[in-house]
């Protein structure tokens, strides 16, 4: 997964370099059917399925537009953009990482970042739930628990969910995935007993894992932020895409993938 994602990121970068040259020079901030050009959207891994669908719909509405999607953990995407990777939009699984881009002057426009989705955490267990895990506190009995890296949003959210349940899980029982999907994969295809990841990821993997809901009082409110990136050659397209994500149609798509409506 790691290798494949790196390659597709490279391809996305290469394509966006190739395509931005053909974009419309006159970028008028009017959202009409006349939109044209290519944009690269850097988005959190937990948005993989929903943004793929969102981009597909957006392209149906605007046939002359191309959308390249670049998925990664929010913090590594921020690092990529700060290192000069060409992106037109950043969609993060939190607001902290977008704020980092605002601070470093990479976000264009004063109205951004905008909150476009809300997510929560859930527990994924093996089909049939052999360890009978029903609450976060039950995770203490699991032999191996998969969590995201300590410093990425999904790892930070998981840590606070575990803390709110009043338990602690020894680091010697925690395997850390490189992103939310890989973390879930440790349960779906590997030998981890449980994972604490985004509700949307567990829903997307419902064939290979079972979801255990976390009550709202113990859960977190993961707020997703989106912003256009300074230096975008197709700012009009980028802003139209953001508006689409916030529109009724866009929100319905996100909802279909388990996100909460704004």
């Amino acid at each position: 997964m790691y290798v494949r994602r790196a390659t597709s990121a490279l391809v996305a970068v290469a394509l966006s370099v190739g395509f931005t040259g053909c974009g419309s020079g006159a970028a008028t901030p009017v959202r009409t059917a006349g939109l044209e050009g290519a944009i690269t959207v850097s988005a959190a891994v937990s948005l993989t399925d929903s943004f793929t669908e969102l981009a597909k719909q957006f392209r149906t509405d605007n046939p002359k537009v191309k959308v390249q999607l670049n998925f990664g953990s929010s913090s590594s995407l921020v690092a990529q953009i700060q290192a000069g990777a060409p992106a037109d939009i950043m969609a993060s699984a939190d607001l902290g990482n977008i704020e980092k881009l605002v601070d470093s002057g990479h976000v264009v426009g004063r109205n951004y970042p905008k909150v476009f989705a809300r997510n929560s955490m859930a527990i994924a267990v093996k089909p049939g739930n052999p360890l009978d895990i029903k609450t976060v506190a039950d995770l203490a009995s699991a032999k191996f628990v998969a969590l995201c890296g300590k410093t990425v949003p999904c790892g930070i959210y998981a840590a606070s969910v575990i803390a709110r349940a009043g338990i602690s899980i020894a680091e010697s029982k925690v395997t850390r995935g490189v992103d939310a999907k890989a973390t879930l994969g440790a349960v779906a295809t590997g030998d981890a007993d449980a994972a604490v990841v985004y509700y949307t990821d567990v829903v997307a993997a419902k064939k290979s894992v079972l979801v255990v809901n976390i009550p709202q009082s113990q859960n977190v409110n993961a707020v997703y932020g989106i912003a256009p990136i300074r230096g975008s050659k197709n700012l009009a397209v980028a802003e139209a895409f953001i508006a689409f994500a916030l529109s009724d149609t866009g929100q319905k798509i996100l909802q279909a993938y388990g996100f909460e409506r704004l």
Binding site: A79, G149, E171, G177, V178, A182, G190, A192
Partner: protein, 267 residues
């Protein structure tokens, strides 16, 4: 024919191409060295988890190399000296982990030795209580899986290049099969075996994809140095660069130590 006359006939564009190629390879090394914060290098490396990752990597890669030698030597021997139907297929299968994406290798290992979904993994756990996944032994399994073909390739090449007369004369002088193997063949084979051990060990040391997929990423248990580098890049980049530097130095050290052997092998 002397080397000089060949050099004088080397076209300019070949020399230029080689120069660009070397530059392409060396620039990232320079880029890494530039990122290393030399003043805080020692304190970064002596940090508990970083040190633990480094120690785990050294131990597991050495054990994985040992596994590769024990399993790889007989494979190389059979591939080089026994002609049988389907030898080409067996060779391709043995070399497969070399070209397979390591993550796919990790998934394949789960399919064989995983506790919940593996072919023999459940038996290992239920009967012997052995769980390879999320254990240091699992790291060795993953590293040996990707390192083995490198050893086989080097040793098989060495065996094919041996002058059969030495072994024949040993046999004529009355040496038995076992004696001949230990005292003649193995001794002649030493340069290629050492080269094979070196590349297998370096490959095991750098293993990432198969390890994280099969053995997981548990601090102090299965989090090897490459895994630590990847995760530190997000939380503590300076520590990641420091750890990368150590791995670079170790690998360069191995290459330098082997330089004479390799050159000696050629001429």
């Amino acid at each position: 024919m002397t080397g000089r006359s060949i050099t004088s006939r080397t076209p300019r564009f070949v020399v230029l191409g080689a120069f660009v190629g070397v530059l392409y390879l060396c620039l990232p090394l320079f880029g890494l060295l530039r990122k290393v914060s030399w003043s805080s290098l020692f304190s970064r490396l002596s940090d508990g988890p970083t040190l633990a990752a480094l120690r785990l990597s050294l131990v597991t890669s050495t054990l994985a190399t040992l596994v590769a030698v024990v399993l790889g030597m007989p494979i190389a021997w059979v591939l080089a000296r026994v002609s049988f139907k389907g030898r080409a297929i067996v060779r391709s299968l043995v070399m497969l982990p070399m070209v397979l994406p390591p993550v796919v290798g990790g998934v394949a290992l789960l399919g064989a030795y995983g506790r919940s979904q593996g072919v023999i993994g459940p038996v290992l756990f239920d009967v012997f209580g052995i769980q390879l996944t999320f254990s240091p032994a699992g790291v060795v399994v993953a590293e040996a899986f990707v390192a083995l073909p490198f050893l086989v390739m080097a040793v098989e090449g060495g065996l094919r290049g041996l002058d059969p007369r030495y072994e024949e004369s040993a046999a004529v002088m009355g040496a038995g099969d076992t004696t001949r193997y230990w005292r003649v063949t193995l001794r002649l084979l030493r340069p290629s075996l050492v080269a094979g051990i070196a590349v297998a060990w370096a490959r095991a040391l750098g293993e990432f994809g198969a390890t994280i997929t099969f053995a997981g990423n548990i601090e102090g248990r299965t989090k090897t140095a490459p895994l630590a580098v990847y995760l530190l890049l997000e939380s503590d980049p300076e520590a990641a660069y420091a750890l990368s530097l150590v791995m670079l130095v170790v690998c360069v050290g191995v290459l330098v130590a082997l330089r004479d052997r390799w050159i000696g092998n050629r001429s």
